[in-house]
């Protein structure tokens, strides 16, 4: 049977069903939407500095057991580029465009989301959030296969798929899903960027051979895999176990509270309902947005652990679920 989650024939059709939107004072929303270079330079600067420090510690300790804790920290920070690339794809952290774009390209490479493809795919995700056959970014397909989700604790399933996409694009062929959401005029950009990715992959392999060491791979590309568990745990909270095919982010998307360290690593995407309702609001203003609309939204889980206490039984139930494909 063909995969019902692959984008189907009418995937590009407009959908006139209105989405639920909470009421919020325009002046407050305008204030929350403001970009703040200073805040983001500090936040992103800290992230880069921690990456540099843990990476340097790992290199200096290479060959000893001490490199393990250093690269564990480095890997977690490196894989969290996934959340930063996401936020940067919306263009919300920085007021200065080139800063936003340059960091988007960097974080996109780190998480192996080629920037042009991902921007279009994510645009589709925001238009048709969790609509089966229309949204190409539904992370959990029903019936749920737990093996795939576990493999992705080390990015093995999604990472392999993303690398396969990059290779295919580098060969000048756009994936079937991509043909749905990337306008023709934009496709050469995807192909060009994918070729640059492949050139970097080859340079990295050459460096490993020349240096007789895996260190180059441990520093680049590799950490997205070995450090990816927390990123997977965060990403699955966004929609897993919730309703597909509804025009209401309160039913398809999850917000949870968590500690400042996790919020830093996850770029405040624990406020995911709020992010979907108002994608113009930068990460740093999401707590205020949450406060402004919380009376119109379901109560969030009080912690990441509590969120997973809801998700896990739902995933286990969905191992036998049938997929409902919405028609609009």
């Amino acid at each position: 049977m063909s995969n019902p989650y692959a984008l189907r024939g009418d995937a590009d059709a407009a959908d006139s069903t209105p989405w639920f939107s909470p009421s919020i004072d325009r002046k407050l929303l305008k204030q929350l939407m403001q970009r703040n270079d200073r805040h983001s330079l500090w936040n992103y600067g800290l992230w880069l500095a921690l990456l540099l420090a843990s990476g340097t510690a790992g290199v200096l300790a290479w060959g000893t057991w001490w490199c393990l804790p250093a690269f564990a920290v480095y890997g977690i920070l490196y894989a969290s580029a996934d959340h930063r690339a996401h936020e940067l794809s919306h263009g919300t952290p920085f007021k200065t465009r080139w800063l936003n774009e340059a960091l988007y390209q960097l974080a996109g490479f780190m998480t192996l989301h080629e920037g042009h493809y991902w921007r279009w795919s994510h645009t589709r995700h925001h238009t048709h959030t969790l609509m089966v056959g229309r949204d190409a970014e539904i992370a959990v397909h029903q019936p749920v296969r737990l093996g795939g989700l576990l493999l992705d604790l080390f990015f093995l399933k999604s990472g392999a798929a993303q690398i396969a996409n990059i290779l295919r694009h580098a060969c000048g062929q756009i994936t079937p899903d991509g043909l749905h959401f990337i306008p023709e005029a934009e496709r050469p950009k995807v192909i060009r960027a994918s070729r640059i990715y492949v050139a970097i992959f080859l340079a990295l392999l050459a460096a490993c051979v020349l240096l007789h060491s895996l260190l180059p791979l441990v520093l680049l590309v590799g950490p997205r895999f070995y450090g990816g568990a927390l990123t997977q745990v965060f990403n699955l909270t966004q929609h897993a176990g919730l309703d597909e095919n509804v025009h209401d982010h309160r039913a398809s998307t999850r917000t949870f509270h968590t500690n400042p360290v996790f919020r830093f690593l996850y770029a405040n995407m624990n406020y995911h309902v709020e992010h979907h309702m108002f994608p113009m609001v930068p990460y740093h203003a999401l707590p205020q947005l949450h406060a402004a609309i919380q009376s119109q939204c379901p109560a969030p889980a009080p912690s990441l652990w509590a969120a997973w206490r809801d998700i896990l039984p739902a995933l286990l139930r969905q191992r036998r679920a049938a997929v409902a494909v919405v028609s609009v």
Binding site: A14, K27, K30, M33, Q34, R35, H90, G91, T92, K95, H116, R119, W120, T123, H126, T127, P183, A185, E186, F278, P279, M280
Partner: protein, 103 residues
């Protein structure tokens, strides 16, 4: 002769902000920026979302749905996911009122 349509009082729009204006079954977006006013089509060329719900930053309006950006002075689409330019209309302030020369 050009026909100017009265939209609102200048003070009805905050500085560096945008307001929706509907006229003859068409939606426009009218902007106020540092003493000047601008007018464009009101719907984003990407997925027909009201730009009046977006954010004005200097001479750029950002769409609330996917953050597509347009230059409000000439309607230029500034990059993915907006690829089609926005139609603009002449606008001016006279006697404290915003006037737009509609299509």
């Amino acid at each position: 002769m050009a026909h100017w349509t009265e939209v609102c009082a200048l003070d009805d729009i905050d500085n560096e902000d945008v307001m929706r204006f509907d006229h003859n079954n068409h939606t426009y977006a009218v902007y106020r920026l540092n003493g000047k006013v601008y007018a464009t089509d009101g719907l984003c060329t990407h997925e027909k979302v009201h730009l009046a719900d977006g954010l004005v930053m200097e001479h750029v309006v950002e769409c609330p749905k996917h953050n597509g950006r347009f230059d409000i002075r000439d309607g230029r689409a500034l990059g993915a996911p907006v690829c089609v330019h926005l139609k603009t209309y002449p606008a001016k302030v006279e006697g404290g009122q915003v006037l737009v020369q509609l299509g």
